[in-house]
Symmetry: C3
Subunit: 158 residues, 3 copies
């Protein structure tokens, strides 16, 4: 079974979402290229005004690993919620230099153990992916957030 480029990028995103939603945080760094990394969470307001200051940024693979270290050890104190990523509107194009430029919309819902759900985050991904040894890897993931549950949004990767 061969997948189209779009199907491959979608699959990449859905595997990424599942790893986060199932709290397999140790897998998160593997979604990024080993030699390059630019993961940022930016507010839509700042992004649209060309104000580059992110809410959070990881600029090296080491920073990405550090980011989830505490989550893997589960020593961070924050309210555990079930999260679920709905990734839609996925678009992917191959750029002149062979990298894949992709965008998608992201809706994350949170649910507590009493069975109540609410909106956790509304936003989008702006990504650059490269194929490395036959696998897609993120060279850049900018998460542009329209809104967020500010009390715990930055506790886990988006």
């Amino acid at each position: 079974m061969s997948l189209s480029l779009l199907e491959r990028v979608e699959r990449f995103n859905y595997d990424y979402a599942e790893a986060l939603n199932q709290r397999r945080f140790a897998e998160w760094p593997d979604f990024f290229a080993a030699d390059h990394c630019d993961y940022r969470v930016l507010s839509r307001e700042n992004h649209d005004a060309d104000l580059p200051a992110p809410l959070l940024g990881c600029y090296t693979p080491g920073m990405v690993k550090d980011r989830v270290e505490m989550l893997i050890k589960d020593t961070l104190t924050y309210r555990h919620m079930y999260l679920r990523h709905y990734i839609t509107n996925v678009r992917a194009d191959t750029a002149a230099d062979g990298v894949i430029v992709s965008r998608a919309n992201l809706l994350v819902m949170q649910s507590d153990l009493e069975g109540n759900s609410s909106i956790y985050m509304v936003g989008r991904y702006e990504d650059v992916l490269a194929e490395i040894a036959g696998e897609l890897k993120l060279r850049k993931r900018h998460v542009i957030v329209d809104s967020f549950s500010i009390d715990n949004m930055l506790a886990v990767p988006l």
Copy 2:
């Protein structure tokens, strides 16, 4: 026009959703294999803890038919709401024995006749499909729910 495997599974899910959202409940059993059926609704908490007790289960095609009998006759007393299924993050793989293993995320919104919408259900599908006489049919659909509007969630199939 030939569809990829993923496109076929997506189409199957979207047709399924439309049948339910348009209250064509008599069609629901036709989405399942005639010789085999395993439809369950499970809480994410129980599922993750390997506690197999479902909130609801249909284990034979006859049980599936029984499940919607009252809905078709519309004799069940419950609050009618407009429902809409948003199915995203669809993944599909062919297993060694030829069946299709598929997963997807599911968000169901409910709307009342006054035009107010709210979250009805947050969760995911874990499915096994088989191609029977050229058509995809469910051999298994487990609906793992993160949360739900408990007052009427089990009135209609998910």
Copy 3:
């Protein structure tokens, strides 16, 4: 890279959503066929009861252009919100006369500048597209709404 018909229709929808979400309203008329236009917003209740009166309708390309004129000039007084379209469950079929009949589910979230998100609109698209000079264009877009934030839903196109 060649796209499947479904991928082309999805891409069309996602480009359309981005233009609206980024407030590039001047582009909106270009998504419609230059010689034919049928854009309507209808309530699900009326649509299901075969009551054809729309909440809003544009029946010529000129009406479509007029519709966004005030938005382009930004002279309309209404509360600005960030909007985001989640388009899912996209299906597309080629009809006997060569046009493409397509349906999709649509969830629009709104976010204010304080970072609060809420449901803006729940509904679906019922579309007819034609390929004109190599590009897909809408000949018909009916937006069937289950519910909506009535105070400002009709200010911007859906």
